[in-house]
Symmetry: C2
């Protein structure tokens, strides 16, 4: 299923943070990961802009490593600020889903 672009806004950054938190990874891999796990239409360009944003906000550390396959990869890792941001993201997400659940239930009451 295709998730509407707008519904991803503000969520995708959190998703990327979560993926990075699960272990050092790089842009291309993240994109594949997303595409294979329900976010079919997220393209490289989108992921790279998010990664740049994260770097700019100093939520991640970056390390360039040579690859055995193709050009060098930029590996990302969460730093403390990134971890905190991720925690905050899940907090917001949990709150939002709770509100949405109420809204949905009310309809049937």
């Amino acid at each position: 299923m295709k998730i509407s672009t707008e519904m991803l806004k503000g969520v995708l950054e959190g998703i990327v943070l979560q993926i990075i938190s699960e272990g050092e990874t790089y842009g291309y891999e993240i994109t594949k990961n997303l595409n294979d796990h329900g976010f079919e239409d997220v393209v490289e360009g989108t992921v790279y802009t998010i990664l740049m944003r994260l770097e700019k906000q100093q939520l991640v550390t970056v390390e360039k490593k040579k690859s055995s396959l193709g050009p060098a990869r930029k590996f990302y890792q969460l730093n403390d600020a990134g971890q905190q941001r991720l925690t905050l993201f899940w907090k917001h997400w949990t709150f939002l889903t709770a509100q949405m659940d109420h809204l949905k239930e009310d309809h049937h009451v």
Copy 2:
């Protein structure tokens, strides 16, 4: 709690659709409703732009009625297209939350 602006994008329109589907209502009331139910920081301007959008997309019918209290109100009701859109919205939302749940779980596995 304050939900980040960006996280609301693409969701708020669905929320407004849901609220309208629960019974004829108008902009000002919708805003109050939102503010009282977890969406504290949504302002009138935002709601009215959404309502205009819904009207433009012909998802709602509009009826102006005099109020005993203040100026006339524009009452909104979902039409068939609006109902379909709402159903689609919940479908997308459910799918997204499912993906997010997987993502969250994977972390702890």
